[in-house]
Amino acid sequence: MIITCPHCGPRDLAEFTYQGDATLSRPEPASTDQEAWNAYVYDRANPAGEHREYWQHAGGCRKFLVVTRNTLTHAISGVEFAPATGSSRRKRS
């Protein structure tokens, strides 16, 4: 699998580490809503099809990326720097 890092260009999968589901939003730090925390830590949709995932370019620029990947075909339709997507703040759909 090749991931095209927005900074480094196309690189081999071996340079990246998977860092989890990028569709979740972390509750406010002081939140005591146990259900929200539970959903954030444990609930995963495991979609068959397009998915947004965090990958860190650990063997390169070390940036966190949000990769839009089809879990059925491995086809990657988008790679962005993580903060630009604001995904950590997006509400779960």
């Binding site: 081999d12 650990a58 940036k63």
Partner: protein
């Protein structure tokens, strides 16, 4: 002498008290060279350099580039990987808003910290990296055995650099000449990496001075 910010640690390499991780492990001479042929790769350590990582705060990238230019006379472009190399110093972009700067002056890191000031941060890595120069007509062939990056003329103009990895060995590579590359690896991996490089270069024939 540069004025240092409180708590800042610039730790220039003191030649008389410093030991390279490759000390005693670099064998000079020619290897893998058939009779009547000359080696097509040259390998050597650039020991004792001042090395620092500069990271800009958001919006202060151009100020950091200017600070690097002032300190290491390296003119940097905005493009990813952009770099510049002179005899005494050089710099290249390794990540968004981040550069690796190196040079022969012991004051380089402290001067850099002064120049960057509040526009970003500077971390001294003079002791933390080992720099190995790979030069010669077969340098790309040898490096291609270890790194899955395109080092061709078109993909990597002179002065530019990139960050990559050979399995666990993280590496930053700058093209410093027509066929010359400086490879920055973590000091702790230096010996393994040197061994790996020599092994990879044996086929082409290499020389260590």
């Amino acid at each position: 002498m540069a004025k240092q910010r409180p708590g800042f640690i610039a730790d220039p390499v003191m030649r008389a008290r410093a030991v390279s991780p490759l000390a005693g492990h670099i064998e000079t001479g020619q290897f893998g060279v058939a009779v009547g042929q000359s080696p097509s790769v040259r390998l050597g350590e650039r020991f004792g350099l001042s090395i620092a990582e500069v990271t800009a705060w958001k919006g202060r990238e151009s100020k950091c580039r200017a600070a690097i230019k002032a300190t290491a006379s390296a003119a940097l472009k905005v493009a990813p990987g952009s770099g510049s190399v002179k005899t005494a110093a050089g710099a290249f972009n390794i990540a968004p808003m981040r550069w690796l700067v190196s040079g022969e002056s012991p004051e380089l890191v402290a001067n850099l910290a002064d120049a960057v000031s509040e526009d970003g941060t500077v971390t001294d890595l003079s002791h933390g990296r080992t720099v190995i120069r790979v030069d010669g007509e077969k340098s790309r062939w040898v490096l291609a055995k270890l790194f899955a990056v395109d080092l061709s003329d078109a993909a990597m103009p002179r002065g530019n650099g990139l960050a990559t990895a050979h399995h666990d060995i993280f590496a930053q590579i700058q093209r410093v000449g027509a066929d010359a590359f400086d490879v920055y690896v973590f000091r702790s991996f230096a010996r393994s990496f040197w061994h790996l490089l020599c092994r990879s270069a044996e086929e082409a024939g290499y020389r260590v001075d």
